[in-house]
Assembly symmetry: C2
Homo-oligomer: 441 residues x 2
């Protein structure tokens, strides 16, 4: 019986681009479109600028593009910075069962490596889909206990996706692909406690950077325990509670977890999207002055993630109180509604103060029930189970394009979008990446 890492290694090394279903490849393109838009939208954020400034002195020859920025870094630095940018505004994609945001930690190291080695678009897309699939499968094996224990699953599983995809791009054999995953297991890290802070970004950047490192060490001959994932003293036991390791390899190549990827219409934690949709619906015809109290009910995850009054824009993106307040007051929930200026708007702050979060364990994950207690004693309530962008109400290609346009201010969005949809015809990723960087002097 071969181990999980060995089975994944054999799968990764044997897979061929043409064998992937067309719908899956299209989902890969949707994910990358959403990724590039998100990274462009956050590219000038001070957190991204700081990451560039910290990483730059530790960069080798600067041959990899930073999306939306004039500087370049080596592949390790670019993997880090682009992962930070893509995830920064909590506006990326989501594999709902695990709450993994699959693309941010996986695409950046592969794009940087592809740029370095002159890889084609079809080859990149294939490696990306394999990496994201491995990431989601490993996440499924430890969900939901892993997240509940305090692990930021996008970082902890992202490193596997980055390692798997990079191993594929490097053309490693089955044994070395397995070793890359085992080495990634010894680099898996990231905590929920740190989510409302910049430490989260370091975790994201590291998932991308260290996954690449794992593949490069495997290429150079470093090994890992074949049982690194499921062994008694291995990853799933250490980081999971009651892991189901069978899910890592069950139906590999037949069933695709990554095909279940979804995209956020709002730049906030995915678990707040039902809150936002319910509040947007309640906003119509509402006079905010008549609200006495807003009660937001949801499951434990919603409360764990978001029962907080925000002090800054990071808090706001993971705050039930802020998400409800802007949606009720302004009838919108875009990037500006979660920016610092919105956080410090007195009317928003006043309404946030009226929001109370409470547990309703009968609600499924991702759902919310919002009840407005009005000053005249009346109540209005909406229970919402399938927010926009969820599996039941997926964002269409046209909606993803509109989201991209809104993020890519100052860029030639139509040309970029067209080029991304045609990624499989792209001869060389370096050319593509140059279309996402401002012209350099």
């Amino acid at each position: 019986m071969t181990s999980a890492a060995e089975q994944l290694g054999a799968f990764i090394s044997a897979s061929r681009p043409g064998a992937l279903p067309a719908a899956l490849r299209h989902e890969g393109l949707r994910s990358l479109l959403n990724f590039f838009g998100g990274a462009l939208g956050a590219a000038q954020d001070p957190a991204v600028s700081t990451a560039v400034q910290v990483m730059a002195p530790f960069s080798g020859p600067q041959r990899a593009t930073l999306i939306g920025r004039a500087e370049r870094l080596d592949a390790m630095g670019a993997a880090f910075v682009n992962a930070v940018a893509a995830n920064l505004l909590d506006f990326d994609d989501t594999h709902l069962e695990t709450v993994i945001h699959p693309t941010a930690p996986v695409a950046p190291p592969l794009l940087a490596l592809a740029e370095l080695r002159g890889v084609s678009g079809a080859t990149l897309l294939h490696a990306f889909i394999l990496g994201a699939e491995v990431e989601c499968r490993i996440g499924c094996a430890v969900s939901p206990g892993h997240y509940a224990r305090g692990w930021h699953i996008t970082s902890t599983c992202g490193v596997f996706g980055a390692a798997a995809g990079a191993a594929r791009l490097l053309g490693l054999d089955a044994g070395r692909c397995a070793a890359a995953l085992g080495i990634a297991a010894s680099q898996s890290a990231g905590l929920v406690e740190n989510l409302p802070t910049a430490a989260k970004n370091v975790g994201m950047g590291n998932a991308a950077r260290n996954g690449l490192l794992a593949a490069l060490f495997a290429e150079a001959g470093y090994t890992a325990a074949p049982s690194a994932l499921e062994g008694r003293l291995g990853w799933a036991q250490a980081m999971g509670d009651a892991p189901d390791v069978g899910r890592i390899t069950e139906g590999l190549g037949e069933h695709w977890e990554f095909a279940r990827n979804t995209y956020k219409p709002y730049p906030a934690g995915i678990v707040f999207h039902a809150v936002i949709d319910a509040c947007l619906a309640l906003h119509k015809g509402l006079d905010p002055a008549t609200i006495a109290e807003v009660v937001v009910a949801g499951d434990q995850l919603l409360l764990d993630r978001g029962d907080r009054l925000p002090r800054n824009e990071r808090d706001a993106r993971v705050s039930i109180h802020h998400a409800a307040a802007v949606a009720l007051l302004r009838g919108s929930a875009g990037v500006e509604d979660f920016a610092a200026a919105a956080v410090h708007t007195p009317a928003v702050a006043a309404l946030r103060g009226k929001v109370r979060a409470e547990l309703d364990a009968s609600l499924p994950r991702g759902a919310a029930c919002v009840t407005l207690q009005m000053t005249d004693g009346s109540r209005r309530s909406i229970e919402l189970r399938d927010p926009r962008g969820s599996a039941a109400r997926p964002m269409t290609d046209a909606e993803l394009e509109r989201k991209y346009h809104a993020s890519a201010t100052g860029h030639d969005a139509p040309a970029q979008i067209a080029r991304l949809w045609a990624l499989e015809a792209e001869p060389e990723i370096g050319g593509l990446m140059r279309a996402f960087a401002p012209r350099r002097n």
Copy 2:
């Protein structure tokens, strides 16, 4: 009530070199002497050469020394490679309660940073002791459940020591020192399952490298949750079983965990040292041909770490069977006794096959009882609780010097040793480091 990270941050930033007790500073020097010897002894190992080869393309200006090697790398790469080398042969130091090897992940990033910034020996020693102290204290808070769960504690806690020491060297204020620790929490990783493989080395290198990164991001203004260590979804809860977070800060500045550091006389996992000492004692006057069976009894940790027949030198260093066989057969347990040639010696392999490990839960951690069942039906047995190098039988300064000489073949060991004992008079770490690199053309 301030958090653990905030208390540690205040402690690190307020501490002054002169305030450290002389005995503690001397323990710091002993640790660094042992560290440099270990790194020199492994500097030419293929695993170290591979690490240099993988990291070199991702190095900025190459201004940091690789101990015992002609190449240089940037501080991030040198931190990684020197940490790999110092720990590679399982010949480093040990804080016995936690089984942390304190120096390998902490000294390298501080030496690299000190070399870059022209720091004095006294300043370096002070920062190193603070870092190692933080590392051991955080380890105490989660021991023994953390290791038992599958965490390689030297890597998982080493990143905190590296971050704390680097934060001190950078002169960060209390808040930024605390942030460095919080950022380190989101980078803590490393698995016991991977210990007999090269993936272990990546975990060690990363602890050093990522700890440095945490401090640099904190310096640049990145923040972390104040409760990153003890919060409900923070490090100790996620990675510990029943953590005692009070131990992180209890008696800070009065009681020094790092003062309990010990040094290995044998290049093998610390838990095997009692096995080796018992077998060395049994070796005297023994005819190996008359051994029918060797029964090695110890606690669960000994069995978890070492109940294996080795296939290579990595296995050998964590094999009860190999450690017992070489000590019984050869009456020695030095670097050569754990090298590949020894592993593949038929007489050693034959005796290894006669070794059986069994649980004796009545024995304390670090102890062993070795019983020889002779072919004539007789038995010889030795129970050993305090092996050489343990807290009860510490290695003397002279023994540490002899150990250094044995590792530093081809180097001017007497001059290096003298310079290390006089570290506090060293004006600038760059000059010191050049004494540990072969002359460059």
